[in-house]
Structures are given as C-alpha cells and as structure tokens.
Symmetry: D3
Subunit: 337 residues, 6 copies
C-alpha cells in the first residue's frame, strides 16, 4: 500500500504506513491510565495521534521526536478535527531488528523539505561561488561550504517563520546569492566578491544555532549566543586556518555577517556601514519576508480575498493576485538564461 | 575663459563667468549699509558670495533663487572658508537685454544633475516599459511616462537626502525599474507587469510634490497632501481616462504606490499586502539608501577610515572599501549585456 | 408570539421567531455527519446555534451571513453558555416563496443599530451643514451628503472598536460635527467652514471601506487603499464635478481629511499642519475613545469597581463614577437649547 | 518720550526708557576688560544689550533677572541683528532712591502678558465655577481659586512652549474650562462637576512649579517633583482642610489631575480611566497645541507658504489659511451668547 | 490527618483538611443545575475544585475569596489535570459556630508567603534603619515603619509579577535595603541617609495600592492614583507631622520615591536627577527582575535547557546553570558575616 | 617653573611648559597665510592654541595628536574665551634630539587620567580575581588580565560618555567587580565565579575597540565589529588556548559578555537569560550612569540648582545635594574595611 499523504487522509480510513514523530507527550486518561499523545508528520503535514492505554501496553516504545515509526491506525474525527487512533506502533529500528519487511519505508516521504532538488541547489551555489568570487574570498567561501556541506543540505532557515524545513537554509541562501548576483549588475561599483561572499555566508551560523533538522530546535549556544556571532566566529576561524591574506577585506566580510540583520533591535550588534553590507541586509530580509508571505498565502484555507492576520508581518495579505493564476510552482533555476 | 568649476576655485583667483543663484538674503553691514549674501552654485557645488554695499549700488538686481547670473568676483578666504567677493553681477536676462555677448554662457554647466545622460536613461526606461509590460498595465505606464516626460527629465528624487538634483527622479526610477527586472528573474512567480509598473510609477507624485527643479522646493500640495497620494491620484486619473479594463489589477497597482514607503510611520497609509508591493518597497528603499551612502562617501573630505555621522542613516560609513579602488564612475548602463 | 430579545432568552425556553445570520460554519460531528454551527443575532445581541445533522437534512439551506431566517429552536446550556438547538430554519425569502405568513417578521428587530433615530440625526446633520457652512464648502458638503445619504444611514463607524453597528458612522459624524460647532465658539478665529466641512466629511471614505453594514466587512479597496485616501478621492472627485471655485480652500479641506488620524503611525500620510486640521483630528479621536469607553463600561458584567482590560485603550476603566447614576440614556439631541 | 516697543526699534535710534532684565551675563572683551551682556525685554519682545567696560565703571549695578531698569542706549546693528549699546543703566529701585522722576515708568509695559484682560478672565472663571459646579466640588474649586488667586493671575502656562507669559496659566485654564462647558453640551452624560473642576484645576500645580513669573524659571520642587503631583497635593490638602464630604468623588478629581497628560511617557503616573479624565486630557492638550501653532504662525517672518519647522510639534505649519484674513484678534469672551 | 500540600496531592486520594478560597464562580451544568467552580489554595499552590449541584444543596455557603474552608474531597483527573471533587465544604467560621473541632486548622499552612521568617526580616530592617540612618531621615523612616508595620508584614510586592505573596513587600524591601547598604561601600560619596531611606520607603505606597493580602487585589486608590504617588503622599504627611527639619533633604527623599521607576513610560512622573535616586531605581528594578527570573525558573516543569517564554521579561531563561546545583534554598540572612 | 594646570591659567600670563597635542587643524588666515589651530591638553583640561603664520615658519612641526610638545605662549582672551598665542613650539622628541634640557618634562602631568592610583587598582583587581574566583574560571580571568595588563592600565572606558581618560576602563572594571562582590553577599545563590568573571571581563573588548589611549579613537575593528563581539572573541580564544575544562560554564561566561548591554537596541545581540548575566548588565550600566552624573556635576559651572541638560541621560541633574558637602574626593579604596 503506497504512502498516503497526511494532508489527504479522510475520516474512517485505515492506514498502515510510516511517519515521523514530531512531538511526544505522556498523559493520563479519565480512569487514571497512561496514554500517549503524539504528533506524527510526513512531507505533507502533521496530525495528532493517540496511543491509548491498551495499545500502549503492547507497544510501549519508547518514542522520541525525530523517530521514524511504522503505524497501523484508524482516522477518526474528534471535535471536528481528524486524528489517528493507533492500533500498532513501533520504531523503524525496532521493526528492522525484528526482521520486518521495510520495503515500503521511504524516509524521504516523511520530512517537510524544500520543494527544490537540494543536490542541484547545492551544486549551483558551489558553482556560483567558484566562478564568481575571486580569491582570497572565493577560497574562503568554498572552504566553508565544503566544511559545512552536510549541515547546509538539511538545516532549516528558521525554526518557524520562514523556510522552516529540511534544506530551508540552502534554499534561502541560494535565493539571496542569486539575487545578489543580479543586483550587482545594477550596482556594478559595489565590491562583487564581498557581496557574493556575504550573501552566501550571512546565515552560516544557523547550522550551529539549530539542531536536529527534521524536528528542529535551538541549541544551547544558539540560545545563549545566537547565530549571528556564531557564524562570524566560524568565518573568522576558517580565515585564520587559511592564513587569509587580506585582513581589511576579511574585516569587511565579518562586518557584513555581524550587521546583516540591519538594525540593533533585530540583533545585529552593529549597523551596516558599507554599501555591500546594506545590500546583503536588504536581500536577506526581502527573501525572508517574501517567503513568509508565500507560506501564509499557501497555508490559507479561508474564502475571503484576504488571509488571516500574520503576526510577524503584522498585516493580512491579499490573495486575489492575478499572479496566483500564472504561478509556476517549478521555479526557474537559472536566472541568467 | 572657460567655466571654472566651483569645486576647483582657489583663493586669490579672479573669476568671470556664470552661476546659478541658489539662495538670496538681504543683510546689513556693521555700518548699517545693506548688502547681499548669496549662495551661488554650478554643476560642481556651491559657494557663499557677498555683494557689498558699494557694488550693490551699481548692481541692484533684483536676484532670486534659480536666476542665472554673470559674475565677476575675487575668491577670498574668510574664517578658513572660501567665498566670492563680487565686483559685478547681473542676470543673464538683463545681460541679454543689454546686448552683451553670452557665448560663454552654458546653462548645462550651472546645474547639479544626474551624472547619467538623461535622454538615454529616458529612452531605456521607455523601452523597458514598452517591451516588458503587457497591456493593459503597459499602456497605462506609457501613457503616464508620456504625459509627465518633461517633468520626469528634470525633477529631483528628493529635496535633500538622495538624488537631490536635476534628473534625480529619473535616475532613481531607472535604477529601481532595472533592479525590479533583475529581481523578477529570481522571483518569477511574482506578477511581472505589476512589479515593473509599480517600480516605474512609485514616485510619480514627486513631479507634483516638488517644484522649480534647479533650486527645488516643496509645493503647497506637496506639503499638504504628500507625493504618495498625489502619485496615486495621477495613476487613478490616467486609468480612468483610458477606461482601464482590469479594475482588480489597477487596484493592486494603486496599492503598490500607496504602500511603497513600507510602513505607516514613513508615510504610507497602508502596509504592503502583496509580494509585488513588498518588492517595490524594498528596491525603492535600497536604492535611496545606497545613494545616500554614495553621496556621503563622495562628499567626505576627512582623513580617517570613517566618514562623519550621517544624520538620516544614523551611522558613520566605512571609507576603506577596496571597491573604492575598482570604482568605475561611469556606470554600466545596460545590465543585461 | 412577539420577538424575544436574545439577551433575555433563558435555558429551557422554546423560541419561534426571526434572526439575522452573522456567521456560518460547516462542521462534522463525532459520527462524521455534517452539521452547521451558526451565530444568530438580533438587536440585543448574538447566540451560537446548531443545526444538527438530522435537522440539516430537512432544512438544507444554504445560509449565508446577513440572511434573515425564521427559526424554531430550544434554548439549551452547553458548558455553562446558552445556545440554540435548532429544530427548523429557513430564510425569509424561502418562507415568503413558500407562502408563509411573515407578519411577525420585523427586520428592524434584527440589527444592532445606533440608539438614536437615524432619520432625525440625518436631518440635523443636514441642517447643520446647510445653515452653518458658507459656499463653496457648504455646497460641496451638501452635495456629498446627498450623494452618499443611503450609505451614511447604515454604515458603521468601524468594524469593531467603536460604533460597530448600523448608523454608527452617522452617529459618530453627528457627534463630531456638533462638537466642532461648540468648539468654534471657543476658538472663533479658526476657519468655520473648513472645520465644519472637515468634521462632517472626515470619515466619508468609510462608506467605501466597509460593506454589508448589517454584518460589516472590509472591502477589497478598503483593505488595499484604506478609508483615508478613499474619502479624499471622493471629496476631490465631487469638487471637480462641481467646478469648485477656491482651490486653496479645497486643498485645506483635503488636508484635513488626509491628516485626520493625527499621526503617520495611525495611517495619516501627513500630519495636521493647520489648526483646523488639528481640531478635527482631536474631536474625531476623542469621540471614538469616549465611545470605546462607554461600550466597554456597558458591556462589563463583572462585579468589581474596574472593568476588564481594554486591549485598544490599554487600560481598565473605572466603573464607580457617580455619573453612572445620573446617566441619561436618551441623549440630548440638540445641544444648542 | 513714550515707551517705544522693542519690536519697533530701528537702527540708529537713541532710546531713553525702561526695560525688564531677562538675562545677565558677565564677559570679558578682547582687551580683557569686563563688560555685561544683557537681554532686555518689554511687552513686545526682547533685545541683546551691552554695557561696555567704560559704562560699567559708572553703572556697576548689580543687575539681576526680573529687575526693572531705566536705560539710555543707542540701537546698533551687529552681524545683521539689532542690539542696544548702553550709555546709562540703573535699576528703578536705585533711581527711586536717587529721587529721580519715574513718571514714564509703567511696569505694565515691560512684561509679555496674555493679550486678554486678566481681571476679566479671572472673574469669568470664578463665575463659571460658582454657577456651574455643584457642591462639594464647587466649594473646593472656589476655595482653591481663592487661595491661589494671586499666583493664577501672573503664572505662565509653561516655560517656553505655550502661553509662556504673565497670565498664561489663567488664559489656558479659561479656554480649557469654557471648552469643557461646551463639550458637556455634546456629552451630557459625563459628570459635569468633575469635568469642570478637573478643567479648572488640572494645571494648578504650575503655580508651585514655576517661579518669578516675569522671567519664569522652574523651582526646585518643580524640577524634582513636577507640577502634576504638586497640583494633586494641593487639591488633596485643600479637600482635607474642607472635610470634603464625598471621598469617591474626590478620588476621581484627583485622578483627573494625575492623568491629565494622557500617557505615562508624557509624565502622568496613571492613564485616564474615566471618560471625564479623558475629556480633560484632550481639551488640555488641544488648547496647548493650538496655542503653539498660533504662536509659531505669529512669530513667523519668512515669506513662503509654510513656517519653519516646529521642534515640539515636529512639523512645519501652513500659513496660507483664509482664516488668517478673517482672524479676529479680540476673541469672543462669552461663548454662550 | 496532617495537612497534605496541594503540590503533593495525587489522583485517587481522599483529602479532609483546610484550604484558602482564592476564586469563586457560579456556573450551570449541562442539565441546567447550578454548581460552583472554586480555586482553592494553600502554601504550596492552588487547585480547581467543583461543588456539584447535589453537594451545593447541602453546603450552600456562601463562599468568598479569602475565606478559610474545611473540605472533604476526592482528587480526580480531568483532561489530564487534577481537580478536587468536593463532598463537603464549609467556612471555618461556620464550623466554629457549629462547635466543630478545629485543632488541625492552621491558617499559616494556607497562605503563599515569603520563604523568609517575616518577623526576623522586620527586625533586621528596623535595625538597619535604626543603626545606619542619621536623623532627621532616620527618625522619619522609623516613624513610617512603625506606623505601617502591620501592613508591611503581609503586603505582597506586586499582584503578579514578583513577590506576589504574603510578606513579599517586606522581602523585596529587605533585599533592596541591604543591597543599598552594600552599594554604599562602593559608592561612599553618595548621601548614605538618602539612599537607605529611599531604599526602605520606595514602595511604601504598595500598602495602600494593594488590599486583602492573602488574595491580593488593587484598591480603588491604587487603580486611580497608583502606588508611586500614594507612597509619596504618605512620606510627605509623616514628615509634616514630625515637623521635619530639613526641607531640602526631604525634597530629595520625595524625589527618590517619585522617580524610582526610572522612566516616565514606567510610571514615574519624573526621571531620577540625583545619583541617590538613580541607585535606588536600579536596585529596585534589579531585585524585581532577579525575583521574576527565580520564580520563572522554579515554576518551570519542562525538560529542555530553557524555560518557556516570560512575557514580561520578553525572553526565555537558561536553566542549566551550575549555580542551580549549589543553590542553597535557605538564604543567608546576614550578608555582613 | 613648575607646570601650571590649564584649568588655572589666567589672561595675560606667559607660560613655558609642556602639553599634550589633542587635535591639529591646518587653516588659512584672512591674508591667505597658513596657520595651525591646535587643542592642547594636560591633566586638568584643554585649551585652544594658535600657531600663527610667522611662528609656524620657524616651528614647522609637524605636529600630530598625542604628541608631547614644549611650548612658550601668551594666554589671551578671544570672544570671552582664553586661548594660547604660541611663540614657540616643538615636540619633546625634537627637543631631546636638539639636546634641550627636559627636566621639567613630566608626561604624567599631561594626561587626563583616573583619579585613582592605577597600579593599586590593578593589584586589587588581580587579588580579587585570584582570591575570589575558583578554577577554571579564575585561571581564565587571570590569564586574560595578565595578557592585556598593559592595555588595561591605559585604556579609557569610553570615547566620551563615561571615564574617557587613561585608566578609565580599569577604574570602571574595578568598581563593577567590587560591586559584584558586594551584591553576591545579598544574592548568594548566584554563581559566584560567573558573576565575578563576567564583571571583570565584560568590557575587555574595549582594549581592541579603542586605540591611542591618550587621545583615544575608535579602531577599524572597533567600528566594524564593536567591543562586545571583540571581547567575546578574546575570551573564547583564551579559553581554547587553555583547554578550558567546562564548556557549559564557558558558554555562560560568553553569554554574560555578549548580553551585558542588556537589550538589543543597545547593541547586545542577545538578552541576558541568566541571573548572573542580568546582574552584570545592571552593575555595568549603573556604574556608567553614576559616573556620567558625577562628570556632568563636576563639569557644571552654572549657578542654579540644576545642571545644563545632559544629552545622553536626557535630563538635567540636581546639584544641591547635601552629599556634595560631605563628598570625599579621595574615594575609599577598600570597601571591605
């Protein structure tokens, strides 16, 4: 039986397939018996699931966020919302240990990810850095991309507000970097290498701020130091290891990273004091806000011409754009051709 | 004697040439005699000038801002700053009426203007609109460009903060429009026509907000209504005259114009509620700030690595950018090639 | 059986009467059967109502906000709140088509409206404009009142915060206009015509910002442009049609309308730059805030000396005012006598 | 020789008359000799004056702010501004002691004062309190007016921003109180006694915050405590002395005084929580701002349609109001007729 | 049966003991029968309790906040949270009147109080004032401590945010006063008497702002005037009664009290203008914020390294401090040894 | 002739002594001849000095900020302010090269420095770190103090606002560290090592942010990165070099340094999330503000009870404190005795 996306499940259906555990909470029912309230997810969304006391007795787990689980469950309606009444649940690891057949198990189906081909994005980003940035900045950027390749391919761009999914950081960086290249054609007197290196590295610290990409959470250094200074430190350390030859140039790249939030109340300890830093700040902010808008528009299920209020953007959005009709979900991957 | 740019004048020199009157103030000297304190300008800058009592008796004027004047004067130093001690002054009109030879008179030398060829910019902007924007928005944009062509060619983009010179509005619009085109290659799912029309028309109201381009000042409607609503009204009126066929599309263009300052505290009565409006808002703000930075860097004459404090940007700027070395003062006019 | 106000309904009662549909939502019960959750309203308030699956089968509707419906229902208590368990429901149109007797049907009973006699308010406002404002402003005001009479009689003053009911805009305008007249006796050197015209027209744009007065919602232009510029445009268009004779005077009236929110962060694209604009700004804000206070005080059902926190006013209010005792609910309609 | 108003003095004139000393500063001239730089004032304005070393030797003073002085001086121009070169100066007290004839001395000519007849305003204010406010609040208001009558007649309403002259507090209070009476006709359900008592007493603390009315300065308690709590304390003390019979009513009056600045960032320790307090807050703020506008418009000597920027109001003002033409400087003193 | 702390109660247990009534609300069950929903508290916490219809019939109360009640109840689980299903409830007064044995009744067990020995704190505070503050301020402080001793021993420091329990004000004052003494050793040139008097008296007005300490609520004067001016008035009145000998010194103490919130937007009508006032402002704010942090850390039951978001502090807190391990719950009462 | 402090110089005096060059500016006099306008300073203050054209011919310099110069000059008065008319000037280096007798030259007299004995402060700070902080934090602090000892002894705490003189950073750190020790006696449950290490290291980055201590200026890294992240990096690097054994403890120290400005708008990229970080933030801010107040009070030369307005503190200050009388200029160096 092929995987049925969570967003397509209907009341009354019996499902037998794999999910990603997103949240786990132990509770007690009215008779005082323990049960589990889970949130299970796949690529298409998430749904509440209950492992009632009796089932729990034979499927005791334990279960933790980011586990992959095989599940047999009934889709039920409770207070007007669908949920899974679980009849059997076990982790993929345990199933494998039990010698079960896992041929239907495809982890790719379980994660929310960027709609783009991450491998392709990565290669384009690498090529952009390789072909467009002169040494010594080019060497530094490639060194860092190489060192953090694995993290970059999975890290989200943020916990919640924009690109909060596998590969989100890569997607965001790819947009900002390509946009920077396009902007340089309009403002050719800016320092090309600085702009492109800054665009690619501005959010590098995210890979240390956020952990556990499939069910992302902030790390302790992420909480106590923040991604801005973490990223700065990573660049500084790499430059030191490479004996970076131009300290003034390096200082300007460091400045771009520290100032990329654009104002102190948004967490940059310093304001952009070069045009290169200002451009990276704007392109980063713009891509994040455009994505927040897209996500809010796509997630909107209401009927009116306007979405519900977006708490971060502090406004509702207009849905009736004629662009929506022409909207090409497969984005143009090479803006130069 | 060819025109000597104000920025090149040195103490002790005698000049005999034409200037633009920027400010006029009547004063009284220590003996109670009236004299004039003027600010005279040319393409390269401005300088204080005095018409002392005795000279005033034979060159009584009157003189008003925006007058073109023929002047004979000594360059002197007063409290460490250069100024012109005027020995003769008269308006070009009066000189012409007196039958004087005006062959050295070239008004183009007197104005601060965009460093770009305005006619060429205009044609590119027109072509961009013509080739890239579909009807009915394309038709509307061309109609408005045609109607306000003359104003567009001279209007500054602002009184003081950015592009405050002849053709400044055109230069600013040309940058924002070309940048919008470049951005659309990165965000191809935005409505192309709306973005480009919004980019070209966003500051149209400036031509009614500002008057007297060579020595610009705010008009009464500019003061009491502001360029945002003035521009909106101009677009609305033109659309009505053209029987614009798609009211929803028009509404979105109107929204871009009203919301292009991005937040209410900066004078937009409404926040950007579409991605198209957000993009135009960012590209406008970015171009204005990059220009403020460039102007402040170019105007800086100090010796340190940082400029003086910029009151609007609320920061000092770093001058030591390696980009400065590679800075190509003749900007690339066609980013697509 | 006469209409029983919703605010007087008690548990266990059977009602058979007419209501206004305010909200409609389709849901599914625990067995997966569809039912409707409605909010029904009348002049006195609103109550949740359920059309369970079985009833829905015979009364399928459809039902939409602003429908008038004939209902037979039982008043029940659910989680401590009363709600209507509907046994029969149909729209008045359908009932009429079915030849039912509608003699108990009185639409006036179904709407929340201003407590004042709207017709009387209208006539007083008209007379104030006619008797107190000289031409050409008087003519312009009467022209606009005449053109938008129908909308003015029903439009609320706001969606939620103050006067959010039929005739709210008229009531608010009537207070602001009469207060302006009273203030002119204290500040007689203000331009009387401008103040009165501004007071009457300041919120005119509301009639285009808000639609469907009985169950008001913001229109698309209301969302994308806002009532401030919509109202300005209406005044400008009317003046143009009338060949308004004094452009400077008109400009000042336009300024009052655009600046009447008093500051840019509240959505005025321009600050009040005349004393007339400042006065209209204050009287508008004062009436809105006094009304918010009155509404919050009247809606408070708690026992203490202070109301609950008012989110917009950002404070709780004192209820123990001795004025409450003397409070004359039938307001003085003619402040001059 | 009759007094020549400072605002009418012209270069070259010799004056022999009385002035008010506003500021005194001892300085040293280029040769190291001491001289005095004074600011002398009269009803019409103020002018810088110098007592050069030689004159100082024979007219040693001392001189202090608020002194009345007899002066003989030449009006001269220095850097384009007029100033008095003093040939003789002495205080009125000293002149009197020397037996000089002081028949031209009229202190009324020396002060900037309210343009209204202070005695008449006082009587109207008293009558308003007497006829319109019921006991016990009426009694309390009259008691306080009586106790502080003398201060009220001279105290300015502020050091600088509005009504900064003799009788300014009385003028401001008289406007606010009469406006409150007018507003009560529009909002008759407000507590009349509270509104009127609050309107009259809201700024009472100014008489303790400001000292030396002709050349006003802030007192130490004014600096360290502020007029809001000083006024509250005065009302509280008077009520205690009168055994005020209604503590709840008194509390609400106290609340009006403490909250009359309308928000905490403007120095009210509490927000207005009654409609009466809100009304007094608005009428106070409105009168202050209208006066600031009038003062700025009257003081403007420029030629354009707009004044210079007003630092407190944060805007320039439009001067071209047709109201200016009809402006009746002698304000209507009885708004009821 | 000894008192079982609420925080230790487990599902299924039958309790028979005394509680403090914190909240009372009358409700109706699904059959329309009235029942009571209470919040009962003791020293360790609070729990929801229901008096269902049948029990209510025999235990009709009435019950009010701050009542002490004897209760027999079953601990049940409802939606995963524990609550008390009450089988019998009566007030201690009624039980006493009925001649019941109350020997298990110990009111001290029912209140949330400071973890410190209030009597000991009080004596230390008294001694600090007596030994460290010279007359006349010392005398004034002792006079006020003596007069408000009873209130000080019970009053919380705030309704909710910090030290919201019996003796909270005393605990907070004791910390601020001792910290002030310690700070004076670092800044010995500050006026010792003023700092200590200000530290002890800064929040004195709380005893009039808050009433009913066991279940604290804001009084009407607390709402309409606020504790800052109430406290100032209390100090002023006491000083007057004592014929305080040094008015300038008194004024500075008054200034400390009025300015102790440090900025106008936090409710001080005046900013700290002396170093003594600044120090008291900082020590007060610091103690409140450290306590908010401690309370939030102690109340946190989650598993991660960070607490939930604290709405007032606008951040989450780090829990993993090694200090936690060394945390000595019995605080050092004498910092000098 | 012993050094005469600048603050004691009087008009007419001839001085022959040494000064520190603070600023140098080349200018042109009215005849077009070059002259130098200098600011010369010593321990007591600064004064403008002119090297007119003729003197410049024989004393051509060059002179640069931070030079020590031997000077012969006349004290003159110009526009009421004293200035030095220089008759001879040369650098100490040049004088030494010329074999001049420099026995009166004492560089200690030329600098504005902390009023404390820097060597003694340093030793106390070292002892505090050594005796009070346990390993591993103690070891880290001592390592950093040792490494940056030289810079610490001269660096100011800020360019302008507080402690802007030699040793200012040391003085500020010494106050904050001792205050932290005192505060720990009040809040003994805080982590003692973290608080003390944070107090000592919080501003360490200043030694890289500021250069040229006698005439301090911001370095390029200071401008582009800021002292907060520079200091964090220094601590991180030192810990790495020492193989710091407790990464969680280190992270908390890093957090204290990054968050010590207390809010993002003041440049901390992260808010204090531990009580230790909050305490260091408060003690740092308090010491800076108390010093700003002291400096402003000491610098005030006016006569009233209040100083002029302090632009950073946004208030005037009260001067009449009785503490001023008791003010002991020689501060207590050992608060424990």
């Amino acid at each position: 039986m092929p995987h049925q996306p969570i967003s397509h499940l209907k009341e009354g259906v019996l499902v037998q397939q794999y999910f990603l555990v997103r949240q786990v909470e132990g509770r007690t029912d009215k008779s005082g018996n323990p049960y589990l309230s889970l949130v299970l997810g796949d690529k298409s969304g998430a749904m509440v699931a209950r492992v009632w006391s009796k089932v729990l007795a034979k499927c005791p787990g334990p279960f933790a966020p980011a586990d992959h689980v095989g599940v047999q469950a009934q889709v039920e309606s409770y207070k007007g919302e669908l949920q899974l009444n679980i009849q059997y649940i076990n982790t993929v690891e345990a199933l494998r240990a039990l010698g079960k057949d896992l041929k239907e198990y495809d982890p790719e189906l379980l994660y929310q990810t960027t709609p783009y081909d991450r491998q392709a994005l990565w290669e384009e980003l690498w090529q952009l850095a390789e072909s467009q940035i002169q040494p010594p900045l080019g060497q530094l950027v490639l060194n860092l991309l190489d060192r953090y390749r694995e993290e970059f391919l999975v890290c989200p761009a943020a916990l919640r507000y924009h690109h909060p999914y596998l590969g989100g950081l890569l997607e965001h960086t790819w947009f900002v970097a390509r946009h920077a290249l396009a902007s340089l054609s309009i403002y050719p007197d800016l320092n090309r290498d600085l702009v492109l290196a800054g665009a690619i590295l501005h959010d590098l610290g995210k890979v240390k701020e956020l952990a556990n990409p499939p069910a992302p959470e902030r790390t302790v250094p992420g909480h106590l130091l923040g991604h801005i200074v973490l990223g700065w430190d990573m660049v500084r350390a790499a430059a030191q290891a490479l004996d970076f030859s131009d300290p003034t140039l390096l200082l300007q790249l460091e400045h771009i990273i520290l100032s990329h939030h654009g104002s102190m109340e948004f967490g940059s300890p310093i304001l952009p004091k070069t045009r290169e830093a200002l451009l990276v700040n704007f392109l980063d902010d713009l891509d994040a806000k455009l994505k927040m808008m897209s996500q809010h528009l796509e997630g909107d299920t209401g009927e009116g011409d306007f979405t519900s209020y977006h708490r971060v953007l502090q406004r509702d959005l207009y849905k009736g754009s004629p662009a929506a009709a022409a909207h090409d979900r497969e984005p143009d991957r090479d803006p130069e051709h």
